[in-house]
Symmetry: D2
Subunit: 435 residues, 4 copies
């Protein structure tokens, strides 16, 4: 987050106006409530599930997001701070080594205690103290910026919560529904044409200037030379991906990176993560249960290896994150964000859009061909907050654009998401590019 950047240009100890406080509190309360709403369809047993080391139980997400406000904001900045439970700083630490030890990640699913009721009580206690803190006369810009960070952090966990529970439910042979019914009854089954958007070579300004909130990995703003390129107007759809499968895509090593081919063989991968083939028909497991595959909908839950192999098979390539950012800026429409298929729409599933306007925001995260590395001049915070992003800048690839389970107010064109090339439980798809 751009704490440092803003601190340089502003008086961070300046007290906030009453109006700004009201706004901040409202935003805080809205996000906190939204997280609890996401947990609403789940039982105490569901919220206990941890189906792999990469994922966390819903209960843990509910607690950890509160922990973040407690240890980064209340403990250092709230004079009347009272710890809720002395074991929580360790239990709900994710990966901040500077803050002491953390409960073993793969064992988060073994924490049947504290109970879910205690976790909700924890959330309430933190919320009350945050409210009191905001109302303190001494409440200032610096603390406000930390709360903003905590809000954005919680929004990231809203997406993780849905990714993780989807994975956990998928391992139950009963294939339970998170959503009782799919939101959209009528589906668009016609595949719209894929157009190619051209961008001319030149030096471009990239990254966030820090005027609005951003994470530290989007900074500093910097320039980058980019050659002529084209990107597709939409992401790849299921029927297109099926052609790749039918053409033997998963059996032909020449389409794959060497590590990708090892991954395919070792895991015997032959289709996207949640696809199931039954009696000649393709289905996919969704948050609304098993659904028949709609050919026109975006393909998603792809690993980087799959996205890259598809692009090579299609004689295209993935865009770099710079190309993506430039194209998304150039083709940004006035309603790009409002109309986007994001968390608030309640679909929790990407759908084919009938428009042929280029759409870069929402629906599915888009793998880029860029490794997740620091921008030139990047410097992480010296304190524990510095572990937020910087220490992950190795072995991962950048994804851009947000998905149908990303909150609308959380996404930006400069936003950099990142996953390991083999991971696919995130809502990730493919946009093609070419020289």
């Amino acid at each position: 987050m751009n704490l440092d950047a803003r601190e340089e240009s502003k008086d961070i100890s300046r007290e906030l106006s009453s109006e700004a406080r009201t706004d901040l509190l409202a935003r805080y309360q809205h996000v906190r409530l939204e997280t609890e709403n996401l947990a609403d369809p789940l039982t105490a047993e569901d919220m206990q599930l941890q189906s792999m080391a990469d994922a966390s139980p819903t209960k843990w997400h509910l607690a950890h997001t509160s922990w973040f406000f407690e240890v980064f904001i209340l403990r250092p900045h709230f004079v009347d701070f009272r710890i809720f439970d002395s074991s929580y700083p360790t239990l709900f630490n994710s990966y901040y080594n500077s803050l002491g030890s953390a409960h073993s990640r793969p064992q988060r699913g073994f924490l049947s205690r504290p109970s879910i009721d205690q976790i909700f009580a924890y959330r309430d206690a933190v919320d009350q103290q945050i409210q009191q803190l905001i109302e303190k006369p001494s409440f200032n810009e610096h603390i406000a910026s930390l709360i903003l960070l905590g809000i954005n952090h919680e929004q990231q966990h809203q997406e993780l919560l849905l990714m993780d529970i989807k994975h956990a439910l998928s391992l139950n042979p009963l294939m339970p529904c998170y959503l009782q019914e799919p939101v959209r009854e009528e589906k668009n089954s016609a595949v719209t044409s894929m157009n190619w958007l051209s961008v001319g070579a030149g030096n471009y300004a990239l990254g966030s200037d820090g005027e609005q909130f951003c994470f530290d990995n989007e900074q500093p703003p910097h320039q980058q030379f980019v050659a002529d390129f084209k990107v597709a107007s939409r992401t790849v759809c299921n029927s297109e991906y099926l052609e790749f499968i039918r053409d033997g895509g998963y059996r032909e090593p020449r389409h794959w990176l060497s590590d990708g081919w090892d991954w395919v063989k070792c895991n015997q991968v032959s289709a996207p993560m949640y696809w199931r083939h039954r009696e000649g028909v393709w289905w996919q497991f969704t948050l609304a249960g098993l659904q028949q595959l709609n050919p026109a909908d975006p393909v998603f839950h792809l690993s980087f290896y799959e996205a890259d192999a598809y692009a090579r098979w299609a004689q295209k390539r993935l865009p770099t994150e710079f190309e993506w950012e430039i194209a998304a800026c150039l083709h940004r429409t006035s309603d790009a964000f409002v109309s986007a298929n994001m968390l608030e729409k309640g679909n929790y599933q990407p759908y084919a859009e009938i428009t042929d306007k280029p759409q870069f925001i929402g629906s599915v995260w888009e793998w880029t061909g860029s490794a997740y590395l620091p921008y030139p001049g990047y410097r992480a915070n010296a304190d524990a907050i510095g572990e937020y992003n910087g220490k992950f800048m190795c072995n991962q690839m950048v994804l851009r654009g947000g998905s149908c389970i990303t909150p609308l107010s959380h996404i930006r064109i400069s936003y950099r998401n990142f996953f390991y090339p083999h991971q696919s439980w995130q809502f990730s798809g493919i946009r093609l590019a070419e020289d």
Copy 2:
């Protein structure tokens, strides 16, 4: 179980007397209720926990014991049988390959659905049908013997339920208590002397004659020549085991079997499973939480490798299962079972006894030096029930005598329990022997 044996000598299609039916139903209902009582201190989240592949969630135990009655008794023998849920025969099959596929064992903890409420409803439905079956005029000896098997099966799972939840809770840094308070406030801290019971050489009759219920692995009765031997009057206690530790027992390969030494090094074992050393004091995790180690209490939660290494260090050996059975018969007192520290006592923890009478029953399972193999002439049932015991007769060692979490009505002198040599989450201790 001795179904076959008894079927030969009785008319198994004979209808049961009204009195016998009443007795059987009462016993059935008692055991079923007791299982639910054991789950009583647990939350829905606790009952979801699976902390290792060897263990199962409480919820799964509650369901699987009902599944046993459903698939082995109701489905084939109850004309009005109605399946509770068509997915359950797969979900709650443990390892009976003849009955079709089973849900993956290490993924039992991912079954947040069906909910615990549904599992209790399942239990009720099975209970009602079993009651109706028993009341049918056609209810006969054969079906009664199957119900008796189901009852004994459920008792085994009562012990497993406690072993498994203890293991799961032990991984929670909060070290939650299953029992709100330890039953025995006053502990006996004086170590009673270990006496040596002599038995003369000869041919002995071993195994069960099938007069009372037994499992098939206790049969057929057969004779065995045994040379002169002595066994200790009690099991090894904590203070004795501490001497072994202090003497460098875990660092000295010559005490250990080769596989045992590999196990010690690979797992960096330096004390029994639930022991914790804090500021010079030894504690152990119990079902009543962390408790200070009482020197006089029996040492338990030992692997076979530890039991064997201790015996070698002490210049003794473990008894064979034959020696154990002979000695337990010879030294059986009139109140051996009534006074034994078993499940019904509610301790759930072994305690030093003040008596110096030899005690073979209850307290802790006792590792023997015998591999778990079929008795001469053993033959497993041809149908699915045949998978109950026989297919495990390899790579495991026999334990005898029952423990403080074994139901009293479940144990017999001829009872053969079995675990892999590296396992220690069962309540297992050491009785020494010598030539």
Copy 3:
């Protein structure tokens, strides 16, 4: 070995007669030469191979057998002892923890130095010192018994050498031959009938009385009650095992022990270890390269799991080691050993015998249903020699009878070999039994 036993009854410090010395030296030299002859067909590169952790390079066998004489005999008992190389006591220690550290077992194949020439020089140096030791006036019964142990130890490694190089060569796609041509050109393709030998119940004396050399695990002699049983007159042949395969033996869990079924699935086993199916024909890799399977020859290279599954499928069982020993004694013919297919015959492959006389010795090791455990009253030596056998008495099963690569002078009816149930690179087959 029966060092202790004999020490009790003899004056072990008695000096040996000149004749006894000559005999011992001749036997020593014969065995030492034979080991080198076995290495003769191999290149320096072949002798370097270690294809799995269970196996060792030929070079290592050549060195380790010399190490045994050096550390157990020369170092403590030869006053003029000079160490050949101070690094060898660690490099060539197999598993004797009492003798200090040992080079990591799975890294034996990384020892390109010392070179094979140095190892042969090491052998010569040891041989010279052993000869000098035997000629010393003070040379006594005790040291002679140790040399006898060393000779038997080296014979065990002769068999291991062949097992290990067979495994290593089998991983080379060129399928190189150890033997340039198979010894027997004409094969007996007619399957002889399998007769059943009956033995009556009673108490039998088992184990070795120590009159001739034996290992400590064959002692003490003891009695055992055995019920009526029958054993087959010959081991199972390839055509019989093929019926098991064709009947779906490897796909049907009910034939298998639970651990065996896991082994089949996990390793995708569908035929014996060295069998290859090519265009409808079965071949097997032998020390003379790939050979077509002869239906009448004994099936071998089976794991215990396969032997046990075959027996269950055939509605028989494996004999216990006691049954095997009793039957082998009762049916011992005058030429049982002389005519046996053992190492000296030079076949290195089991063949169908035309005789219908029961044959228990040679050809293939026979899995028994007995776990490898100490005999009643067994006590291992207190010093390093005590690690020879005793510490392996867990998790392994007993095999009896010797194989076509066991030296004739090495085998005895009381001889107990042992392997883990999943292992099959030894020359192991099946003899059936029934009640």
Copy 4:
């Protein structure tokens, strides 16, 4: 390699002049001989060693480099081609899926056959045919370019051969020497000052223009904007790295990338790969055996994680590969290559230079902060040669500059080497940079 690039601008079917043929043949013969010279100090047993899956036996390198000429040049382009052995195309294929199956990589060390003599005969046979091919009238530019690629390929394997045999010998407790004596008796123990070279921001041309030989991954030439930066005049030395260790560098997570910290803990890393601490003194295993650490010499055999952690601890960073290339061009001296410590110098070990001129070439490979990704516009060849580089462009980091075991004629400023972040058996060190 720039086959395509050159093919566009030249008539690749043009026949070569007699002079050009003579030069090419001389260069070919020189490199082939040099490879064999590198194998000269090794025994047949040494050449058999494969100490990890990442490494290959010397024998395999000798064969595979010949295979490359056979399958890419002789088979398609030499009319009189005769295959040496029909099994070799599979045995010595490294990773070219388009060319059919390859012998399993981790099993290369099991190929005791073909013998080393046969491999040398294979080399001769290939050499003779290459010579005949070059002398054919039809020999043209295209084939010449493929031979040039084969020569460069073989030079890469010269470096790998030394890396791999060093690793293999390091696992032998005897710590054998590859070089009988270290070349440099006198060492420079004074640490020269580390100066900082400044470079101004701007758009720079990067990559190879293809005028001289290069690999395809150095192309196409392209421009890149780079901000102001500084790089150090020399790489980090042992005494500087020791400070990091003494300051607890390996125990402090905040210096490490998250994956790096996992690597440290999981492998219990506490010093560079070949360092050994004995009685207060630091040694390192070298190709000339165990040598005392010279404080002024460059530290090497570092993983990317270690290089990155050191840089963070030193409050610097690693240069990007673009920064490295720009600085190396700007500070290139007339004798930069001639004076560099590279393979031909015969040191096989980096040494402190007394000069304070910036030196970018030789000594140690330098980790950059750049992920190994395709340059903009990169396109791999369509045929099997296309697998040479492109399929590895994921999960690896770029190293620059060559090392003391890289052939002088093989290195270029645009040369991109690449390894996984955890690997350290290559001769890799650290050059620092800052904004």
